[in-house]
């Protein structure tokens, strides 16, 4: 009798955890329930008000694709022909309206990434005391 009760409790707990986990929430594909692949299109960067440059991601030698890995809470890229990899830890993520907003801090740079959960449009803005840049692009579910 007791075995059945405790067994049921554990099953219920695991079931509840699975049900409440992001992977089980299929409300929107771009809501953080699944990993994303994002492409960088354009970049605008400034070192001061009179010294800004804009252009394609290729012009800045940035990787064309980045992966948002929600379980690991990182944005992951490979570059230089796939030989090297880099990641940015995601410190905060939430959905606000139709925006999936991810935030982090890394090497003195604060950054925010916003993904439109309806159409996948994406931008990343990063700031430090001497450099600001914005990357525009789009994301799709893996």
């Amino acid at each position: 009798m007791n075995n059945k009760v405790y067994g049921f409790s554990i099953s219920a707990l695991l079931g509840a955890m699975l049900f409440l986990s992001p992977a089980a929430d299929a409300k929107s594909a771009l809501d953080g329930s699944s990993d994303l692949t994002c492409a960088a299109f354009e970049v605008v960067g400034c070192t001061d008000a009179d010294n800004c440059t804009s252009g394609s991601a290729r012009k800045f030698d940035l990787p064309e694709f980045m992966e948002v890995r929600f379980k690991k809470k990182v944005i992951h890229i490979t570059y230089d022909g796939g030989d090297k990899q880099a990641e940015s830890p995601i410190n905060n993520s939430e959905i606000n309206g139709s925006q999936l907003v991810l935030q982090g801090v890394e090497n003195g740079h604060g950054w925010t990434m916003a993904v439109n959960t309806d159409n996948g449009r994406m931008s990343i803005a990063a700031v430090s005391d001497e450099l600001t840049f914005t990357i525009f692009g789009a994301c799709k579910v893996n």
Partner: protein, 116 residues
């Protein structure tokens, strides 16, 4: 020996702890460098500096070209300076041909000599 109740509680605590660890801690891959605050910031910053240097260099060359063109234009606008001998010879021809009076010849000759 653990009772079923203790076993269940322990299992729940372990599951909760593991779940909390997975959910709250970013897991970076081994050997991965920084992306946004690393490679992206470095390459974008470098590109801005390179662009700024190129603009400054372009502005410098444009200024040099403009100055050279201006000097060339000034050189073309002013006629070449004749020597005193050439001016006196020309003046003498004018006098011999009757184009100027002896008085004008004398005055102009003195002016040319005064420039020596």
């Amino acid at each position: 020996m653990l009772s079923y109740k203790n076993y269940a509680i322990s299992l729940m605590l372990v599951i909760t702890f593991v779940t909390a660890s997975v959910v709250t801690t970013p897991v970076q891959a081994d050997g991965a460098g920084a992306f946004i605050g690393g490679i992206a910031a470095a390459r974008i910053g470098r590109s801005i500096r390179d662009n700024n240097d190129a603009q400054e260099q372009q502005a410098y060359y444009a200024q040099q070209t403009a100055e050279a063109a201006q000097a060339q234009a000034q050189a073309q606008a002013s006629p070449p300076q004749k020597s005193v001998e050439e001016q006196l010879a020309e003046l003498q021809k004018l006098a011999a041909g009757g184009y100027i009076t002896p008085a004008e010849y004398k005055t102009k000759k003195q002016q040319i000599l005064d420039t020596m």
